[in-house]
Subunit: 272 residues, 2 copies
């Protein structure tokens, strides 16, 4: 009689995959759940939006695989990342997939989760703070406010194949909203011009936040119309977040002193 419980007949049992949101950058902004998962990780797949401080929290014996991508230069296409996740898990390796921000907000975590589900691999998701939340806290820009913004919109400024930006400008041009655009630095002139063309005043307060929550983060404020020249004048680089709306003007009053946030040494976060 066939012994179906024999490991030789069954092959390795697929291991668990954990999709972990690495948050905006500051390792102290990881969730406790994420820190614990990192401390116990066997194999870690990470990309270039994951900060070095976060990576240091991985178990010493963990194998770290870089699968990062940048706007123009993909280290590994998304399909290959999905395939690698599945292959590692099928080989019995438990995998921690570490993504900057929150994997379910512009992190393509949905696609990776689908690939795992289709292959029958068990997975769980640990959410992470998205960059806008870190930027808001560190620079005194509440994302909503009764007097200024009752709606909060997250969008991306990515180019389509035909070099146009695929955004619903009508939705983004209403008053009493805060609009946050990820990955929009390269398309800033189009974003600024289109929003103004669709009725949002060029004088609307706007901010550019580079490397939100990193020790060398920068926040430049001005107006919607000035966004392209602001980016140029300050030589901003990716990742830079765009925040548009009346809430930006609250920064003058609310911005904390960054020394207080970054000034004291960050104690060890390792948890076992």
């Amino acid at each position: 009689m066939l012994d179906v419980t024999s490991p030789h007949l069954l092959g390795p049992v697929p291991a668990h995959v954990t999709l972990v949101g690495a948050g905006p950058g500051d390792p102290e902004l990881l969730t406790v759940k994420a820190v614990k998962a990192l401390a116990n990780a066997q194999t870690v797949l990470y990309d270039n939006l994951v900060s070095p401080g976060v990576l240091e929290l991985c178990a010493a014996q963990a194998e770290k695989i870089y699968v990062g991508k940048q706007a123009s230069r993909h280290a590994l296409p998304q399909e290959e990342i999905c395939q690698l996740l599945v292959q590692l898990a099928q080989a019995g390796r438990s995998v921690l997939r570490l993504k900057g921000g929150d994997g379910y907000i512009f992190g393509r975590g949905g696609e990776e989760a689908q690939a795992l589900a289709e292959a029958g691999i068990p997975f769980t998701v640990i959410p992470g703070l998205t960059a806008a939340q870190g930027a808001a806290a560190n620079h005194g820009i509440p994302l909503t406010h009764r007097d200024h913004a009752r709606v909060l919109i997250f969008a991306t400024g990515h180019l389509k194949q035909d070099r146009s930006v695929d955004l619903d400008w009508d939705v983004l041009s209403r008053p009493q909203q805060t609009v946050v655009i990820y990955m929009g630095l390269g398309t800033l002139p189009v974003i600024s011009a289109q929003l103004v063309a669709h009725g949002l005043p060029a004088s609307t307060p706007a901010a550019l936040i580079e490397k939100a929550t990193a020790p060398d983060e920068r926040c430049i404020t001005g107006t919607l119309g000035e966004l392209p020249s602001m980016a140029q004048a300050h030589h901003l680089k990716s990742p830079t977040l765009i925040v548009i709306g009346e809430v930006v003007k609250l920064r003058e009053q609310l911005h904390p002193r960054l020394e207080e946030i970054h000034g004291y040494p960050i104690p060890s976060l390792r948890m076992k």
Copy 2:
């Protein structure tokens, strides 16, 4: 000559206030920074969206003051909370203001920060996961997805004084978006009807998530048109999040087993 450094002449130096996002409920979804702040807290002001498990992480000697509000019954009006924060800090007590979710996303953190800034009291903000992020991770609903939603919108369903709902229905009724509505359980019939009237198909997938990330959390899925009857049939209570968009249908494929998330005992999170 007048000695301006004398404490008798200056009175107490105003203490620091930390506005801390308590996240969606699961204490393990707090940030490391928030856990450390709680462990060192002197006076904690909290409201009813802060879960008991999070409160337990406060320093044993911390004084906890409940200032919570519910939709219909305010424990303390917002102005009085702001005043209390200022008074405590001016009396030299360092205060940790603990708010469910993220204080800068529908948490009225902006108003409290303004009150502190106006009174010259130093403060910092620690962001927290907003309920939608916890709900998305625990129930397999990616908030964005290349094929289904390139824009993510957060709004509230609060009633205005005249009993109408103050939302820009045009913005919320577009295709290829995910719309998350906080505090909308009481106005669900209006929300459902208005979105359909403004062109969003009644068949659009939709979910109601009660007490996201709590051990007894529930997620009910159906369609936009069915939302009011779903809430009624399942006797959902506040806090319940509304998620509308094609991404909700991914839950069938992606929802993790909640036993895996809540099934194992949560180890102590206390940090000193």
